[in-house]
Symmetry: C3
Subunit: 133 residues, 3 copies
Amino acid sequence: MFLFTLKPGERVRQSLEQACLDWDIPSAAVSGIGGLRQVELGYWRASQADYQRKTLEGSFELLTLLGNISLYQGRPFAHLHVTLADENLQVVGGHFFEATVTATVELFLTPCDPIERHWDAQIGAALWNLEPG
Amino acid sequence: MFLFTLKPGERVRQSLEQACLDWDIPSAAVSGIGGLRQVELGYWRASQADYQRKTLEGSFELLTLLGNISLYQGRPFAHLHVTLADENLQVVGGHFFEATVTATVELFLTPCDPIERHWDAQIGAALWNLEPG
Amino acid sequence: MFLFTLKPGERVRQSLEQACLDWDIPSAAVSGIGGLRQVELGYWRASQADYQRKTLEGSFELLTLLGNISLYQGRPFAHLHVTLADENLQVVGGHFFEATVTATVELFLTPCDPIERHWDAQIGAALWNLEPG
C-alpha cells in the first residue's frame, strides 16, 4: 500500500496520475480524505452519454475520495468520486474531475492486478475490460 | 484483492453475494463507485429495531459503496452503506438494500479473516461475532 | 487487515485509538460503517487555522468513516472524516471528532508504513511527515 499526500495549492488528479507514472502503479484502489477548493465535479447523463460539469467555489472538507487507477489509452487514469462538506456540514458530491488542495490530502493507493479500460460506445463511457462478475 | 465490475441492468446485492459464493469469499472489506438507479435504502430505527425503507427513483452517481461481506445463516451476506449524488450534486444515502446498475459499478473486495454474524435480539440487528474492541 | 467492531454506547475515537495502542498499530488506513449519535464534527477554517465545531443530536446511519491512524506526539492519532444520513436519507458530514455508537460500528484497519505527523504552523494543522507526492 502506497501513502500519498498533497500540499496546499497542488492539483489532485494531475499529481496523482503523475505519481502513478513515476512509481509505476498501473492499477490500484484509491481512498482518502483532506480539504479541497475549486472542485470540478460531474454527473453522468445516460441520455447524452456525457457528464454535466460544474465547478464549486469555496472550501470543502473532502470526506471521501474513492475509486481506482487503471490503464486507459496506455496511461494511468484515475476514476474517482468524492463527497464534500461545506461550513454548514451540508454534503455535495459527484464524479471527480479536478480540484486544488487546501490544507492537505491524505491518500492510500493499494496496487491490484492490472485493469485496462476500453471505450464502450453503446454506454458512452470507458469501462473496465474485466468480464463483469 | 478481488476486482468486481457490474454491467448496466444488473442488481448489485444479488450479483455481489453470488460472486462471493462462486469465488469462495466468506468475508471481505468492500469499497466501490459507479452509477445506480432504483435504489432501495434504509434508515435503522432503534425504537422499532428495524429499517425504515425507501426506494429512490432517478439515476445517481454512486459516490461510495462501503461495507463488508460476512457469513450470516451460512451464506455470504453484504452489509453495505451508500452515498449517492443527483444531477444537482446533492447527496443522499443510507443502509443499502438493492439497486440496479446504470453505466457501471467498480468494486474492490479485500478478503479478511472469517466474520460471522449472529442475531442480537436486544439490539435488533445481526452483529459481528467478534469480541468488540 | 484488522477487524474492529464497537458496541452500543461506546465512544468511537477513544476506543479506536486505545485499540491501536493495545494492538501496536502505529499507522493504518481506516474504513467502516455503522450507526452513530451525539456526533461532534468540524469544518476547517483556513482563515483561523482551526476547526469550527458542531455536535449533532439524533441518530444517524454512518455511511462512511474514512481516514487513517498515524503517530502524533508519540501516540496513535486518528484523522477521520464521516458522512451521515438521517431518517430522510439526507446526508451531512465533516471532520470527525467523536461520537457514540448506536447499534454497531464495523471497521477495517489496514496497517501501513509508519506515518508521523508534525505541527505545520504555516498551515495550522498536523500534517504527514512524508514528502508530498
